[in-house]
């Protein structure tokens, strides 16, 4: 049986949720989400250090989606927008949890998985060195992506990245990524 994206989304969209969205990930959507989450955190009088980290990680998470999202084929449009992604920002057990999800082609799964595992195996100093190396040696893609997003998220959160890849059909997997920012900084 294929992975049920909607059921998965409804499970995420529970508890103390600041923002939940599923659909087309556009530049305008990103602006709106950032504005809403920023004002929610101000309403909660969250301390500025945590607020900044959440904002930074949110920017990178959303822009990772924006840059890497698969344009879905027409036969999936009945159920999903063509640049379908999900985002849920919630408060879970002393952390802000930023979850994103998107379809990924099966042949790209291993590369991404290896990249995240490598990042998760690194300590603070190694991540810093990796960040600086990529910053200094890798060129931006035409769309402006630089391959730094995940490394930056790992550095800013100081936590491991949680992820799953669920088989959707013979072409696509659904990739879910959770980043956690601790309240007490």
């Amino acid at each position: 049986m294929s992975f049920d994206v909607n059921e998965y989304y409804s499970k995420l969209d529970g508890g103390d949720v600041l923002m939940a969205f599923k659909g087309d990930i556009s530049s305008e959507l990103i602006s709106n989400v950032l504005e809403v989450v920023e004002s929610r955190m101000e309403d909660n009088s969250e301390n500025s250090k945590v607020r900044k980290k959440v904002y930074n990680v949110l920017v990178e998470s959303l822009q990772n989606l924006y840059h890497h999202i698969e344009i879905l084929p027409e036969e999936m449009h009945e159920e999903f927008d063509s640049k379908f992604g999900i985002l849920v920002v919630s408060r879970v057990e002393g952390t802000y949890k930023i979850s994103t999800g998107n379809f990924i082609k099966q042949e790209k799964v291993d590369v991404l998985k290896n990249k995240i595992d490598k990042i998760n195996s690194m300590g603070k100093e190694e991540l810093k060195d990796m960040y600086k190396f990529i910053l200094n040696h890798q060129r931006l893609s035409d769309k402006g992506g630089g391959g730094l997003g995940l490394v930056d998220i790992a550095r800013k959160t100081g936590n491991k990245l949680d992820y799953t890849f669920e088989r959707f059909n013979e072409i696509y997997y659904f990739f879910n990524l959770d980043a956690y920012i601790d309240f007490a900084q």
């Binding site: 990103i30 602006s31 504005e35 500025s48 930074n56 910053l135 402006g144 630089g146």
Partner: protein, 126 residues
């Protein structure tokens, strides 16, 4: 040469490059999805300025947020400044960060370790 002045937006910083005074300022948020387009005129301006720079160029970078797409373009801006500094003209980069914003301080230190230009880390106390 003509000054470069760009108003800030929710996703892009305000820019004031003044060649007469040798003062260069980038301030605000830099989080566009694609930063190449935004930073292109800045790098081009510096390219022109580097042919006849002042003895001292002061650079003020005061960013509240910047994304990883911008981080590469900011490096490109700094590389232009490094070339001016190599040409025996003084350049100072003042990197501002808000009190307790260790991530922003660290980001400044990352650049400082890559770019051969003197940096001054300046904490903004509210």
């Amino acid at each position: 040469m003509e000054a470069l002045s760009i108003e800030g937006t929710a996703k892009t910083p305000s820019v004031k490059f003044n060649g007469q005074e040798g003062v260069i300022e980038i301030k605000g948020r830099s989080i566009p999805e694609n930063s190449i387009e935004f930073y292109k005129p800045l790098v081009e301006w510096l390219e022109e300025y580097s042919s006849t720079p002042l003895d001292l160029t002061q650079v003020n970078v005061q960013l509240e947020y910047f994304n990883t797409s911008s981080s590469k373009c900011i490096l490109d801006v700094f590389k232009k400044l490094e070339a001016i500094h190599k040409g025996k003209n003084e350049v100072i980069i003042n990197w501002y960060y808000e009190e307790d914003d260790e991530d922003m301080l660290e980001a400044g230190e990352d650049y400082e370790s890559i770019i051969r230009v003197p940096f001054k880390m300046i904490e903004i106390v509210e």
